[in-house]
């Protein structure tokens, strides 16, 4: 069984799980089950990331999404899903309409994607076509480790681009600034979320 076949097999498995779970999320009327299927779908996506040699992103996906975000969602489900609200049904007509539109939408998206000749783009942008630097400086599949380049990129260094590049070409910039912005953003969001969730309760107590 060649690596290709293993890759294909794993891809098929993860893809089916991810898509199927996603569809199940839509189809399910029970909020708890929806949460379960979502975890499945996100986890399968993480698998896909691993297949794509994005080990750090995949890990993050598992940790943050599956471990953090979904737990958060489940908290929300538990806080709100009291009694009658666990199942909120939609009308069948809505379902049919949503399904129709979904299929059309999918057709549209995929026809758009399919209309592009990715071969040209891939070939032009293939590791070989991209230039020596890329193949020399960053090759995830060969190195199997994206953590360091990612970390460097976040602190503003791009060894995958700058190493071996023409000395006169301008230096690539890393993601230091977006990283910082996102950090601050996170902080603000946390405070804001805490405030939103808390303020209402206090006002309720005041009302009471």
């Amino acid at each position: 069984m060649s690596a290709e076949q293993i890759h294909s097999g794993l891809f098929a498995l993860f893809a089916i799980i991810a898509c199927g779970a996603a569809i199940a999320v839509v189809m399910s009327q029970n909020i708890v089950r929806m949460a379960f299927w979502l975890v499945m779908s996100l986890g399968a996506t993480a698998g896909l990331f691993f297949l794509l040699d994005a080990d750090f992103v995949g890990a993050t996906q598992l940790l943050v999404y599956v471990g953090g975000t979904v737990v958060l969602l489940i908290f929300g489900v538990m806080l709100t899903a009291s009694g009658p609200y666990i199942r909120i049904r939609m009308s069948p007509a809505e379902g049919v309409l949503a399904g129709g539109i979904g299929i059309l939408f999918l057709a549209m998206v995929y026809s758009t994607v399919g209309a592009v000749n990715w071969e040209n783009v891939s070939s032009a942008a293939s590791p070989s076509g991209l230039g020596a630097g890329v193949s020399e400086g960053f090759n995830a599949s060969s190195q199997g480790n994206t953590t360091r380049p990612l970390g460097l990129a976040f602190i503003g260094l791009r060894p995958d681009r700058d190493l071996g590049a023409d000395i006169h070409s301008p230096l690539s910039t890393g993601y230091l600034l977006p990283f910082e912005i996102v950090s601050v953003h996170l902080l603000v969001v946390l405070i804001g979320a805490a405030y939103l969730a808390r303020a209402k309760r206090r006002s309720d107590t005041v009302e009471e």
Binding site: I88, V113, V189, A193
Partner: protein, 102 residues
């Protein structure tokens, strides 16, 4: 069958559309949030796939990282909003919250 870019893109598209459908059809506010997560994930799949198969390279990973983080932040805020909504309306049915009707 060689697994190529198009396959990943198809998976991403399915997740995206599923997320949109989820957002459009779920009356449960949490369900809507889940749809959002699905949409984001669909996009993430595409980013990472492009990083692997095109010259996007490490940038696709970086953006995927941002998306994940922001999704987490979004989830936190959205949940807080959902809780507020629940406190105000004593339900999580988004159809009941039509105060913004023109």
């Amino acid at each position: 069958m060689e697994v190529g870019l198009n396959h990943y893109l198809f998976v991403g598209a399915v997740m995206f559309v599923t997320g949109v459908i989820c957002m459009a059809s779920k009356r449960n506010g949490i369900g809507v949030l889940m749809g959002v997560e699905l949409v984001l994930n669909g996009a993430n799949v595409n980013f990472v796939a492009f990083a692997r198969y095109t010259a996007l390279g490490l940038d696709g990973h970086v953006i995927a990282m941002f998306v994940i983080v922001l999704a987490a932040a979004e989830a936190a805020v959205a949940l807080a909003i959902a809780l507020n909504f629940y406190n105000n309306h004593l339900t999580i049915d988004v159809d009941r919250g039509d105060e913004l009707r023109g």
